[in-house]
């Protein structure tokens, strides 16, 4: 039982991070139907920027929590700028182009960002300075740290803020309108360029927050870390129904938990026929089954034709 509880805690933390990254994919997809494959790299840049700021301020004598917050704030700002420029430089010129063209550009941007990060931060792993002293709590044989608590609660907070933004504010309304029909929205006086740029900016800000979480959770960062994380988060977004905010959150949490349980129990379930190296397969089997019965994901709405 304590093992199960521990695996659930492991999965929940991982899932919270996946969910935040998945939101970045799903926001952009929901509005312009583009899969922004460079989003994982935006997350990575967020981690790296936060790392740089934190290291620079580590010796300044400021309280650790403040240093961490400054690092987070700078990372968010840098990533917002990055998201905006990505849209402006790589995607807006191709908005009328066939669907595959921006997809290729996205993959290209992902590689460009990886290599830029390699040039700036080097090829080595960098260790995140542990700013918060980790406290380990034990409940019923399972352990968790204060960092994990912070990650899950911060993720929940950010997601609630996002839902408020999309459903209760003017820009949120404009986003939903653009998602439904960009042409009609523009006729109604919505500046769709601005709305789409905002989607990138907000998605990137969420990515930066996720990046800081990954950094402080694993205390490790690398210029290629965004790729796998991005792929997993994309899977989570599809699992939940890409384009749907609640779906991305549910998909992320579900994927994290499935992965943890898969690695933990797949051996026992199959009598050691399949070992923990099949943990990724396990997640994808669930994905396939879900898509078989609900082709547009768990929360996905049936989608009309999209250009």
């Amino acid at each position: 039982m304590d093992t199960l509880l521990q695996q659930l805690i492991n999965g929940l933390t991982l899932g919270a991070v996946y969910a935040l990254v998945a939101l970045g994919y799903t926001m952009v997809y929901g509005i312009i139907g583009l899969i922004n494959f460079a989003h994982g790299e935006v997350v990575m840049i967020g981690t790296m920027v936060a790392f740089t700021v934190i290291v620079a301020l580590a010796g300044s004598g400021l309280p650790p929590l403040l240093v961490l917050s400054i690092g987070l704030a700078v990372a968010v700002v840098v990533c917002m700028a990055l998201g905006w420029s990505l849209e402006r430089v790589a995607y807006r010129p191709l908005r009328g182009a066939p669907r595959l063209t921006p997809l290729i550009t996205a993959i290209g941007m992902s590689m460009v960002l990886q290599n830029v990060a390699m040039i700036i931060w080097g090829r080595n792993y960098i260790t995140f300075p542990p700013m918060i002293t980790k406290h380990i709590y034990s409940v019923g044989g399972a352990t968790f740290t204060n960092v994990q608590v912070a990650i899950v609660s911060l993720a929940a907070l950010v997601m609630m803020a996002l839902i408020y933004l999309v459903h209760r504010t003017r820009i949120g309304m404009a986003m939903r309108a653009t998602a439904q029909n960009p042409h009609v929205a523009s006729l109604m006086g919505v500046d769709i360029n601005r709305v789409i740029a905002m989607a990138f900016v907000i998605g990137s800000a969420l990515g930066a927050v996720a990046g800081c979480m990954v950094g402080s959770y694993y205390e490790i960062a690398h210029y290629q870390m965004g790729f796998m994380l991005g792929l997993k988060a994309f899977t989570a977004a599809v699992l939940g129904g890409i384009g749907n905010l609640a779906g991305a959150m549910a998909g992320g949490l579900l994927l994290g938990v499935i992965e943890a349980l898969g690695a933990g129990y797949i051996g026992q379930l199959t009598g050691d026929f399949l070992g923990s190296h099949y943990q990724d397969i396990f997640a994808f089997i669930v994905l396939i089954i879900v898509l078989m019965f609900r082709p547009s994901g768990l929360f996905g709405e049936r989608e009309g034709d999209r250009a």
Partner: protein, 430 residues
């Protein structure tokens, strides 16, 4: 729309120009060494250029180890050039062609073919067993001598290739030392084994499992991850439930670092052991205080015990910073190739290859001699413990060569060959 199309055309033009440019540049290079080896030049002591290939992952999670290997080779090339070596009447200028295989077996073979096409005289590499083994058949077909400074999987030299050599002990030796150490010296009854599903990690983990079982320990869990993973909590939680005394990781430092931290967070108290891939200063950097008490092995002698190591250590650290693991070995690998060329008085791979097998070279890592398979004779294995953020030598053993059976390598094996520093199988604790 026109203004959009024009840059596209320009880019295409530029790209094709670049391709043409590269092609042109490549041609003379490729042609260069061939006539050089054959035709004796007219001038008194003309200079010829001999290219030596080096392959290691220079990007990706273990790029730091790849760079370490390459720097070792680069230092060797610089030292050799400073000596103005004369082969067949020509002063030889060595050039290192450093390639990146991304620790990926597929890329490894592509890069290997590239080196063959570039007509290198010999290859030092690759770093990982997983890339070295597939690449070795390409070098073999081309008749190119290949010396790996760090690929420890036994299969590499068991393929019957006369071109494949390595300058450190293989995993049969290393695995039996770790497994025996865990079961005997650390007194582990229950051992959990994790590997990263690479040729290296899996091969080493298998050998450790055999040796641990042979010494009376039970393997309570065998878990798997991959060499790019950073989250190990799921498998560690599973292992925690089995309550092992010792956890062994067959994998690299980039995996071991975060794994150690997560073990601590999960409250796992088992001792952590790993092989050479995790036995680096990088592991200490990545794991921080969680690395205290880790037991790990390196194939080879500790740097401070290397017979001719002091000069190497001084030169290397002043030029490139701290040694990670295998740069002394890639240094020696290059020197062994050059030594064979000198003895054969030829830089033609076909002519000097037989001499590589007959090598008896006093390198910075000790005496380098190969057995009939291309493995080093009497390769040493050293056990380290991480104390106060430093790798401290516990003991060194001149391992038994060949021996496919999981024999306890702790058995006293008086070094038969003249291997200066391996002889005293002493135990020294600081």
């Amino acid at each position: 729309m026109n203004h959009v199309r024009i840059p596209g055309v320009l880019i295409a033009l530029a790209a094709s120009l670049a391709v043409i440019g590269c092609g042109k540049k490549e041609e003379p290079k490729a042609a260069a060494p061939a006539p050089v080896a054959a035709a004796p030049a007219p001038a008194a002591q003309p200079e010829i250029i001999v290219k030596i290939g080096h392959v290691a992952p220079l990007t990706g999670p273990i790029a730091h180890l790849g760079k370490d290997n390459e720097n070792g080779a680069r230092l060797a090339v610089d030292d050799a050039n400073a000596q103005k070596i004369v082969i067949d009447g020509n002063v030889v200028k060595f050039e290192l062609l450093g390639e990146d295989d991304q620790a990926d077996p597929k890329t490894g073979t592509v890069v290997a073919q590239k080196l063959v096409d570039a007509k290198v005289a010999g290859v030092v590499g690759h770093l990982n067993s997983g890339t070295t083994i597939p690449a070795s058949s390409i070098y073999n077909q081309a008749g190119l001598p290949q010396i790996s400074p760090s690929a420890t999987n036994p299969k590499y030299t068991q393929q019957g290739f006369n071109t494949a050599f390595r300058v450190m002990a293989n995993d049969v030796q290393q695995g039996s030392v770790v497994g025996t150490y865990a079961a005997k010296d650390m007194g582990a009854k229950k051992i959990a084994i994790i590997d990263d599903r690479t040729a290296y990690g899996q091969g080493l983990a298998d050998e450790v499992e055999k040796a641990a079982k042979a010494n009376g320990a039970t393997v309570v869990a065998r878990e798997f991850t991959n060499d790019k993973a950073i989250d190990f909590k799921a498998i560690l939680t599973k292992i925690k439930a089995k309550n092992p005394d010792v956890i062994f990781l067959g994998g690299m430092d980039a995996v071991g670092g975060p794994m150690l931290k997560q073990m601590k967070e999960l409250g796992i108290t088992a001792k952590f052991t790993t092989g050479d891939g995790g036995c680096s200063p990088e592991l200490i950097k990545l794991a921080g205080p969680a690395s205290e008490g880790v037991i790990c092995t390196q194939a080879g002698l500790p740097v401070d015990k290397l017979p001719n190591g002091q000069k190497f250590v001084a030169d290397f650290t002043s030029k490139y910073g701290p040694i990670q693991i295998y740069s002394p070995y890639s240094y020696d690998a290059v020197m062994v190739l050059i030594d064979a060329m000198k003895r054969a008085n030829s830089v033609d791979p076909a002519k000097y290859l037989p001499e590589v097998g007959k090598t008896s070279y006093d390198g910075v890592t000790g005496k380098v001699e190969f057995d009939e398979k291309g493995d080093i004779k009497n390769g040493a294995i050293t056990v380290f413990e991480i104390k106060d953020g430093k790798l401290v030598t516990l003991k060194s053993e001149g391992g038994a060569t060949a021996a496919a059976a999981p024999m306890p390598a702790a058995a006293p094996m008086p070094a038969a060959a003249p291997m200066p520093a391996a002889a005293p199988a002493t135990e020294e604790k600081k």
